[in-house]
């Protein structure tokens, strides 16, 4: 009897353990942003965004290096990193959030809201992001887009350049998650 109890306990602890590590990772998440004004269009892509998706907790965490955004022009890259987001002081931007009403059993694509906190330039802001989640075999693909206001993150743009940079920046993302073996 004792043996049976300990065996059951063992089984339970194993299943607990395996469900604890039900995590997925994207090392090459893609985030791009666009600023459209009548003067100039600026776009930048970061192809090395890190994200971890916890299937059981329905949570995701994202971290990216501001310096990993690639611009068409060197000067845009310099302005962005040195003057606007101040990458020396704030090298990373992060997002942490919970997927609302996520159905982890569904094999169909589902569109859900991720409610969380976005931190850019050392300033955190609560935000809801709509995302489409597709399951492909044992992979998950998250895609979507949203907007962010430059002012919300205390990013100062000199008046002389304010007509070159949009007040609202549109952001697109794509994350392809694979099982995470630690």
């Amino acid at each position: 009897m004792n043996k049976l109890v300990s065996f059951l306990f063992f089984i339970v602890s194993i299943t607990n353990f395996s469900s604890d590590s039900n995590q997925f990772i994207a090392r090459q998440g893609q985030i791009s942003f666009f600023s459209y004004t009548s003067v100039e269009n600026i776009e930048a892509v970061n192809n090395q965004v890190l994200s971890i998706f916890d299937l059981d907790k329905k949570e995701i965490a994202i971290s990216m290096l501001m310096r990993a955004f690639v611009f068409k022009k060197d000067l845009m890259y310099e302005h962005f990193n040195e003057s606007y987001v101040e990458s020396d002081i704030y090298p990373k931007a992060t997002f942490e959030g919970k997927i609302i009403d996520f159905d982890k059993k569904s094999e169909q694509p589902q569109t859900k809201i991720i409610r969380g906190t976005l931190t850019i330039h050392g300033v955190s802001k609560n935000i809801d992001i709509k995302t489409t989640i597709k399951k492909e075999k044992n992979k998950y693909v998250f895609t979507g887009d949203f907007t962010a206001a430059v002012d919300d993150f205390q990013i100062k743009i000199p008046p002389i350049l304010s007509s070159n940079i949009a007040k609202i920046i549109s952001i697109k993302f794509r994350f392809q998650y694979e099982p995470y073996e630690q």
């Binding site: 090392r27 090395q48 310096r67 068409k72 392809q176």
Partner: protein
């Protein structure tokens, strides 16, 4: 005589403006994907040391490596073509940490010949550390004598 002097001065000034303008335009509009092939790296080290350095002290390592051209030797763990990029991951001895190299498209043929666990040399611009050290605009070199 004086007139001639002014003509030369004027020509000289015009020349100066043209050269200055050319340099300004070249710097302003040059592409950020510059060719690193002929540039020499600031430091050369192996992937284990690079990852360990960032793992132990990220701030110090950022000062030392971030924004600089560095040369890393390591073993090929994975090659991926996600999002139409060529990405090479070098393994390290620190658990699941590694070096992610975003490879310059000119290196495509060299990439095709690579095998898993092959020892290679990668030169690129260090961008910092997340779970892996990130290098961009990478050029690769296969090490022949090993």
């Amino acid at each position: 005589m004086k007139n001639k002097f002014y003509t030369y001065l004027l020509l000289f000034l015009i020349g100066l403006i043209l050269v200055g303008g050319y340099i300004f335009i070249k710097n302003t509009f040059k592409s950020s994907e510059k060719n690193l092939e002929k540039e020499s790296a600031l430091v050369s080290l192996n992937s284990d040391d690079l990852v360990t350095s960032f793992f132990n002290d990220e701030t110090k390592s950022n000062k030392r490596y971030t924004g600089k051209i560095i040369e890393v030797t390591g073993f090929v763990k994975e090659i991926s073509y996600l999002n139409n990029r060529i990405t090479l991951i070098l393994s390290s001895n620190t658990n699941s940490y590694g070096v992610i190299c975003d490879v310059n498209s000119s290196q495509k043929e060299k990439i095709n010949k690579l095998k898993k666990n092959q020892k290679i040399l990668v030169k690129g611009i260090c961008k910092g550390f997340l779970k892996d050290v990130i290098l961009q605009n990478c050029y690769i070199d296969t090490l022949t004598n090993e």
